[in-house]
Symmetry: D2
Subunit: 135 residues, 4 copies
């Protein structure tokens, strides 16, 4: 099993149209194309959809070392509303601690503008993940 | 149009199974039944699904006054993983400012245990929402 | 050494006028009287002073079990500016995990109004603190 | 009055040893030399001192446009404890909105290692600050 196979099991992200574009140790990039199914009552992409995209990139980056890491707390800031086009999330582990890593995620629209930012703290368990180690 | 009709237009929350149970001025309660479609790669309810539930309750509570309010920043803390049963989010506006309200949301499982907490800051626009005023 | 003696060693909080009023397992209350030394350039109590008060209450509540716990991430929301009177911080551990506890802190002014809220996540080390166990 | 004169009125930051090193539109850098007065009960620099440094850099960056901007919410992540040397905070406005700007702050130690990160949201009032406009 590759790390991509593993993250294909994330049904909630998959149903939201989230795709893993790239993953390296401590780094990941994901995308989500906005469709009407992502709309909130105001007709723009729901905050929960943007969070799901960001959290997925966070999960890929922090689990890239092969050790199970889950999220314990996140902060998300919303800058611009979007109602079409593809969104991109780029996650970088800025603190690669053996127990409590921290990761920054920038979310951009198709023009490359920053539309949201996310910071997450993880907690690593002593459990190896069932995918082949990556570089 | 009632406030419930208005929030029925939130397609992303609706698709995630989120239901508005109760809404009063500055207060809202919502639920989401966990199904396999909510699972992440680890087989438990995805953080993005829990965020969507919390953010929806936040939106109902902060928009309850009839003035358009969107989220500018949120903080979410995850305490327990859940893979079945119904989750509940209870949102209380602790600071009802005319521009930048703040709302605390507690998310509980079917046993009433706190499984996550959420704090959100909104920004009110000078736009009246198209639903009948509530008490 | 009592837990109060231990927290008297917090020189930064002490210099800011922070006082520990009460501490029980998973709970603490602290105060800080605003003086001109707490002012920011705008002539009101600086956010860093309010954070110091809240973080001190968080530290007392989360370390009350006798195991060294430090802060890994916090979120603070500011609702009202204050330039006089005493501020109070009340900290409650809402998630008493053996490694990664979470604590909510409400900060009020002398009229009892909520002027700020704080949520913090701690990390417990396998180190016993040098004070007598409390009830 | 220059912007530096204005921020010299921040008594709490000044007492904590915080210095404004550089300020441009949407950007600021500040420093704080750790002394025993910054210690918490564990003998390392208190979280409130680090927050004060970060919040000061946030305030300088977001107020650099000459319009009064105060903090409404902040998130801080602590990565490493420090007990000596000078800390540096670098603040960048990543979202320069006319009402609700957002700013990222990285805090580093004398070796240039990231020891904390901070994200803050401001709220701009329709009040011009009493200092000469900067480039």
């Amino acid at each position: 099993m590759t790390i991509n196979d593993f993250f294909d099991k994330d049904k909630f992200a998959l149903n939201a149209g989230v795709k893993l574009l790239e993953v390296r140790k401590g780094y990941a990039r994901a995308s989500m194309e906005i469709t009407p199914m992502h709309f909130n009552a105001g007709g723009v992409c729901q905050g929960g959809a943007i969070f799901t995209l960001a959290d997925f990139a966070f999960a890929a980056a922090t689990n890239s070392h092969g050790q199970l890491t889950f999220s314990i707390t996140s902060n998300i800031n919303f800058f611009k509303s979007e109602s079409e086009g593809t969104l991109y999330a780029e996650a970088k582990e800025v603190f690669c601690h053996k127990r409590i890593p921290n990761c920054e995620v920038h979310i951009t629209n198709k023009e490359g503008e920053l539309i949201a930012s996310f910071t997450g703290t993880g907690y690593r368990k002593d459990i190896q993940l069932p995918f082949k180690s990556i570089e």
